[in-house]
Structure formats: structure tokens, C-alpha cells
């Protein structure tokens, strides 16, 4: 260890000209925010019947298959001419591998 290093507690001379190294976390913050805001905006701006629709679809499916809330997702994607109601239902693996119900389309 040379004199300089000793003087600055092990800091290399070049480090003095660089910003102190901390993790650059701002980009992570931005990405996380973009995801959560996109989800929350669609949840808050969709038509008010969506949560109830999701609940009722769930009840119907539960008559036949054992699934819970997390296996159903309903989203409305707005387009200029038509909107797409996207209903994804994950079914348990048995007796057949998981399949997706067809997507419903509705003019909105």
C-alpha cells in the first residue's frame, strides 16, 4: 500500500475523480413504476362492470373446475374502432394441459 492509499483510507487516487459508486437504481425505479402505473390505470379507467364480470365468470367456471381468483384475468384494450375484451383463464393441469378459452370481441 503506497502512501496515498494509506492517506485516503484505501481509496485509489483515480477514484477521487469519479463519483462515489452507488448502485444506479433510478432506472429500476422507472421500470417498476411504468409497469404498476399501466396496470393501475387500466384497472381504474375500465368500464365499471369489469370487476363484477370477472367475479361472475369465476363463479360459472367454479361450477365445473376448481380455480381461484388469481387464475382469471380480464383486461380491456381500447382501440380506435373496436375494443378487445381479453379474458384469460388458467385451468389446472389435470385432466388436460392448461388451455385458454377463446378471446371475446365486443364493439365498445
Amino acid at each position: 500500500m503506497n502512501i496515498l492509499q494509506r492517506a485516503f483510507g484505501g481509496t485509489r487516487l483515480l477514484d477521487l475523480f469519479r463519483p462515489p459508486a452507488g448502485p444506479r437504481t433510478a432506472d429500476t425505479a422507472k421500470e417498476r413504476l411504468q409497469v404498476v402505473l399501466a396496470l393501475e390505470r387500466s384497472a381504474n379507467s375500465g368500464p365499471s362492470f369489469l370487476p363484477q364480470l370477472q367475479e361472475e365468470i369465476l363463479q360459472v367456471i367454479k361450477k365445473y373446475v376448481d380455480i381461484d381468483n388469481e387464475n382469471v384475468s380480464i383486461q380491456l384494450e381500447r382501440g380506435p374502432e373496436i375494443s378487445m375484451l381479453d379474458i384469460n383463464i388458467e385451468l389446472p393441469a389435470a385432466p388436460k394441459p392448461s388451455r385458454r378459452l377463446p378471446v371475446l370481441q365486443s364493439a365498445h
Binding site: F8, P19, P20, R24, A26, A29, N44
Partner: protein, 275 residues
Amino acid sequence: MARVIVITSGKGGVGKTTSAAAFAAGLAREGNKTVVIDFDVGLRNLDLIMGCERRVVFDFIDVINGTARLNQALIRDKRVDGLYVLPTSQTRDKDALKMEGVEQVIGELRRDFDYVICDSPAGIEHGAQAALYFADEAIVVTNPEVSSVRDSDRMIGILTSKSKRAERNEEPIKQHVLITRYDIERVNRGEMLKVDDVLEMLALPLLGVIPESRSVLQASNTGTPVILDDASPAGLAYRDAVARFLGEQMEFRFVNPQPKGLWDGLFNRLWRRSA
């Protein structure tokens, strides 16, 4: 006829009351008769920030309940002409803010003042909704930090859908974003969201960027709106923001790194490491 401006954020502790006090004092200093109302019933603090806590006799809730006249509750600021404070009650709960009463008080203030500033409580409950319901414009105060940006986004949704203007299909509330506690050094090190990141997500026009500054605490210690501190970077940034609000074109200060000599930088770094 006054413009009614709500200072809101969703999240607490981001600088709503500091900003409300600064904006009210700044608008009054520019010759506008301005009143700032504390909507945080039960947790009153605007009086402390404005330095008039020992002059409160009657409050907003007394006026709503008819136990005092508006003139008895308004506190005239001793430093700035045309600046008034309407403090809130420390003892009652938020349900004391009856909407009809709030409407009546704001209606009366609209006739006498140029600007009515509503200092919203944190949260999205009744007090916050009462503060924004009658607003013509909104200043959404945001820190460059994930929870604050998310709450601001939520609040923008509420401003867009739950105000009197929205319910009556009138011209929507004009919204602005004010970024506070901005630390350019941390932004440069990649530790803090940039102004552009925040604007990209909130999609509102930028009214100002207030730098993190020791003078904000100093101002609150003494009950002086920080905008009255001519030596404070935060005070200067608030002045720019008020000027922009009044339609002036102002360059953004404190957003880009201050040019520093090599030796200043080296000195700071050595000092910080040994500290």
C-alpha cells in the same frame, strides 16, 4: 372572481403545505389578493408554516358551522400585503367538512380574492376530496420517488373524474406537476428519478422543480414561507414556479448540474470521504 387552486399529492410529507404557503405568498407578492385554506382538519399545520399559529381564534370549521363569520376567521399576514390564512380546526374530525359549507365559504372567498389556495391533506379520503372538489386548477406535488409518483398518478385520476367540473362536464381542472426535493447530484449518480422520467409517467405540464434545500426546514422552523427567503435555492425555484403559473416563460434552474471547478469537486469528495 378568484381562481381556486388545490395543492395536492396523495402521499404525505412531499411538501404540500410548504408549497401552498410558498405559492400563496408568491401570488400575493405579485399583487394578487390571495387566501390559503388548510383542509387538513384535525392535523392543522399551515398556521405553523405561515407563522400565524398564535393568532388563530376562529377557524374554517367555525365558519362552516356558522359559529364565526368569515372575516373573524381570516388571518391577515403581517409580511405580505393581500395575503390571508384560513386555518382549520385542530380538535374536530374530517367529517366536519360539510360539502355545502365548503362550497359556501369558497363561494364567498371567490368574490373577494384573486386566488384561493386549498392546501389538501394527504390521502384520498373526504378531506382531500373536499379540497379538490371546487378547484379550477391543481398543483400536484411529487417527489422523484416511486411511492410519490404512483400516488400522484392516482390523484391525477381523481382530479380528472371526481371534481365538480368533471361531474358537470365542464372544462376540466387545469393540472400542473411540481417536483419537490429534487437532488441533482443523486440524479446524476443515477440514484434518483430524473425530471423527464417523472413527466413521462405523469404526462402533465411542469410548473417547477424545487431543489432539496436546507432552507426549507429553516423556513418552517421560523414560520416563514420559504419563498420569502431570497437567499434560498428552494425559494428562488418557487418564485420561478409562481411566475410560470402567472404565464411568464422562465428557464428551469437547479435541474442541470452547477458547473464546478475540478478543485471544488476534488475537495468535496475528499471531505465527504473523510466525514
